[in-house]
Symmetry: C2
Subunit: 420 residues, 2 copies
C-alpha cells in the first residue's frame, strides 16, 4: 500500500484542494479529501508537497522506436522525409526496436505518460520492454497484408494481458492507401476472432483522402465503415480531413480518434476539427505520433498545443477548455486503448497516477490548478509516475530501468542504423 498525502487532487472528475490517495496493490483504494482518508497501517507514505496529483497520460498513437530516427529529415516534404526514413527502417532488427522503445518509454515516463498505443515492427520487443518497465502498451503491427495480420494471432497469444494486464494486442491495419479492401476486411476478421480492437491511420492528409475517393468513391471513414471495421473498438489516428458525414459515422460507431496535433502540423497535414467533433459526440483521445515527426514524446506539451490550436485556428478562446483537454489525454485515452478500469483516480480503478511539481515557478501562483496543468505545466514538471500501483519514476530517478544503459543501447542502435 502507498499513501500519497499533501496533494491537490484532480481525479479526472472532481478536484480536492486538500487531497489524499491510497493505493492497494494495483488499485486505488481511496482518492478524495484528506479528511476522509482511511488509516492505512503499514502503507508507505509519500509527501506530495502540495503538487497536483492527476491521472497519468494515455498516448493514443505512437511509433515509439522511431526515437532512433529522431531528427532525421526535418523540414522536408513528406515524400522526401520518407525517402530518408525508409532505408533506415529497412535495416531495423528486433534489438533496435527493443532499444528504441526503451528510450521512448524512459522519455514518456519522465513526462507522465502511463500507457501508449504503438504501431510498428517487431512488436514482441515492445511488449517485452513494456512488461519489464511496467508501463502499459497497446501494441499492433502496422500491417499492409494478410500475412502480416496473421501474425497478430501469435502476438495476441504471446502477450495479451501480460504484466497483470499491462499489454493489450490490437489488430493493426496501416491505412486505406497501403491496403486493399480484402486486407481491411481480414483485419476485421482477425479482430473479431481475437475479440480485440483495431488500430489504423485514417484521413491524415488531404491527398490520402482525395485518393481514397478516387479509388473507392468514398472517404476513408466511409470506406472503413462500409467494410464494417468500426464494429470493433477502433483507434483511428489523425482524422484531419473529414466530412460532416464522416463525423456522424465516427460518433455513431463510437470510434476513438487519436488526435496528433504536433505531428499534423510538422508534416503539414493540417489541423483536425477536434472541438467540433467532440461537440458532435466523437470520442477524441490524444497522441504524440512517432518521435520522428513530433519530436518529443510529451503529452503535456501536446495537450496544450491541442487546446491552443482549436482556439486560435477556429477563432474562439472558449474552445477545448482545460477540463476537456485533460479528459482527452487521460480518461478517453484509457478507453481508446482498451484499459476500461483506468484513466480516473477512483477507488476500485487501477492506480495510474502522476504528480506535477506544485512549487515549479511556472505553476505559481496557482489560482486554477487545472488551467495550470494544461496551459502552464511542462513534461519535465512531472515528479512522480505510477502505473498499476507501482512507482516507475520519482524525482528524476527511474525505478524499473537503468537510464544510462537505456541511452547507451539506443545510441548503439542508432549507429548500427547509420542514423549517426
Amino acid at each position: 500500500m502507498i499513501k500519497i498525502e499533501n496533494v491537490r487532487l484532480y481525479t479526472g472528475q472532481e478536484y480536492f484542494p486538500n487531497g489524499c490517495a491510497v493505493t492497494d496493490g494495483a488499485f486505488v483504494r481511496y482518492a478524495g479529501d484528506s479528511k476522509g482518508c482511511p488509516d492505512a497501517p503499514g502503507a508507505r507514505a509519500i509527501d506530495g508537497k502540495g503538487g497536483l496529483m492527476m491521472p497519468g497520460f494515455y498516448n493514443a498513437h505512437c511509433h515509439a522506436a522511431m526515437t532512433l530516427e529522431r531528427g532525421v529529415g526535418s523540414d522536408l516534404n513528406l515524400m522526401d522525409w520518407l525517402h530518408q526514413i525508409f532505408p533506415i527502417e529497412d535495416r531495423l532488427n528486433a534489438e533496435h526496436v527493443y532499444n528504441g522503445t526503451r528510450l521512448a518509454i524512459l522519455e514518456m515516463l519522465r513526462r507522465g505518460t502511463v500507457a501508449f498505443a504503438d504501431m510498428y515492427f517487431f512488436m514482441d520487443e515492445v511488449a517485452r520492454a513494456a512488461v519489464e518497465t511496467g508501463i502499459r502498451a497497446n501494441i499492433c503491427r502496422g500491417c499492409t497484408s494478410m500475412e502480416g495480420l496473421d501474425s497478430t494471432r501469435d502476438l495476441y497469444r504471446a502477450h495479451e494481458g501480460a504484466g497483470d494486464g499491462l499489454v493489450k494486442v490490437y489488430a493493426g491495419l496501416h491505412s486505406e492507401y497501403l491496403t486493399t479492401p480484402e486486407v481491411a476486411a481480414y483485419a476485421l476478421q482477425v479482430a473479431k476472432e481475437l475479440n480485440t480492437g483495431i488500430h489504423v491511420h485514417v484521413s491524415e492528409t488531404k491527398s490520402e483522402t482525395d485518393g481514397c475517393i478516387e479509388r473507392h468513391g468514398v472517404t476513408p471513414v466511409k470506406y472503413f465503415d462500409q467494410i464494417g471495421l468500426f464494429e470493433r473498438p477502433t483507434i483511428a489516428a489523425h482524422l484531419v480531413h473529414v466530412t460532416d458525414e464522416d463525423i456522424q459515422i465516427l460518433a455513431r460507431r463510437g470510434v476513438y480518434m487519436a488526435h496528433n496535433p504536433a505531428s499534423n502540423l510538422k508534416l503539414a497535414s493540417g489541423v483536425a476539427r477536434v472541438s467540433e467533433m467532440l461537440d458532435k459526440g466523437v470520442r477524441v483521445a490524444l497522441g504524440t505520433d512517432g518521435p520522428s515527426s513530433n519530436n518529443v514524446l510529451d503529452m503535456l506539451s501536446d495537450m496544450r498545443l491541442a487546446s491552443l490550436l482549436q482556439k486560435g485556428v477556429f477563432g474562439d478562446p472558449r474552445l477545448l477548455p482545460a477540463r476537456q483537454a485533460l479528459t482527452m489525454a487521460t480518461r478517453t485515452g484509457a478507453e481508446a486503448l482498451g484499459y476500461r478500469d483506468c484513466g480516473l483516480i477512483e477507488a476500485g480503478l487501477r492506480a495510474d497516477m502522476i504528480l506535477l511539481d506544485g512549487h515549479a515557478e511556472n505553476m505559481l501562483p496557482g489560482p486554477d490548478p487545472l488551467a495550470d496543468a494544461v496551459y502552464s505545466a511542462q513534461g519535465l514538471n512531472v515528479t512522480l509516475t505510477m502505473v498499476n500501483g507501482r512507482m516507475l519514476y520519482q524525482d528524476g530517478k527511474f525505478l524499473t530501468l537503468d537510464e544510462d544503459e537505456v541511452k547507451r543501447k539506443a545510441l548503439e542502435s542508432a549507429k548500427a542504423l547509420r542514423v549517426l
Copy 2:
C-alpha cells in the same frame, strides 16, 4: 575568463561539432573548433559534457509581472478575460511588479532566455530586478497618454544602459486603439528626443484592425507609418492581421515584428503569416507575450510552436525551418531589442550563451542538433544560462537570486492582489 569545452557549438551562423568558447569579461574572446581554442591561463573551465551551446533567447514581447495573474480567466472571451485581469491590475503597486518580474526572470533564466522586452507598469522595478539578477531588459510603459509618455524621460535618465548595458529604455505606446494620433506622434517625438526605439502593439486582432480602418481609414500599420512612427527602431508586437501593403511597409521600414504564437492562439487572435513575411524581408523576432495569455515563459516551446504552425497552417513542411526559427529567437531578437552586439556567439560580441543538455533522452540520438534544438528540446533541458559573460543559472541553481525567496514573495503579492 571562462572556458567552456566539450560542446557542440552553434554560433548562430556556423556549427562546430567539437566546439569551445572562451569569454573575457562580458565578451566572447573565442568561439569555434576546439583545436583553435586559445590558451586561457587562469580561466575557469567548464565541461559542457557534449551539450549544445548556442546563443540565448531574446524574448521580444512580454509583460513579465503578469506571472502574478497566471491562470486567471482561462478559456474566456477576450473581454471576459480582461474584466478579470483589470481589477487585479488596478491593485498593482511597485512591490508587486518587482516580485512578479523576479518570478518571470527566474522562469526565463531557467529556460535559456537572456533578455526580454517588457511593457508594463512601475518599470523602475523591472529595471531594478533586471540589474540585480543580471538579465537584459528592454523596458517601456504601455502608455496611452502624453503624461505617460513624459515619464519615459525619467525612466530613460534613471536606467538607460544600467548594469553595463543590460537595461534599455524604449518609448512604449500601447496601441492604436487605446491612443489618439496626437499621443502616437508624441511617442515618436519622445523616442527621437531620447534617440531610442518604440515598442507598440499592432494588429493583434481582427476587430482592432477593422476598427482602425473605421476610425482612420487605414490599417494600423499604415496609420503608424503615416505618423512616422517607424522612423525610429520599432518593436511591433503581434501583426497577425496585415495586408500585403502592410508587409511591404514593414519590410521597407525595417520594423521588428514580435511574433507571439502561443498568445495569439490562446486568445484566438489567429496565426500570423510569419514565413511569408520573412520571405518578403520583414524582420521577425519571437516573443512569449505575458504569462497570463501563454502561460509559461519558454522561448524553446514557442520557437517550436512558431515553426510547427507555419508548416501546418500554411500547408508546407518546409516553412520556417530550424535555422530560420533559431535566428528569429536569437539574433533577430537581439537586434529588435537594440542589443546590437548580442545574439551571436562570436569573438568581440557580448557573451549571452546557453547550454542544452546533450544527454537528455529527447535530444538523442542527435543526427541534426539544430533540428533537435527547435523540434525536440524543451526549456527545462537548459543547463546553463550566461548573460554578458556572467553565469546566472547552472544545473538547477540560480547564481544571482534566491529561488525560494523569489517564489515566496511572488505568492505574497498574488495574495495581496487577491489572485489567490
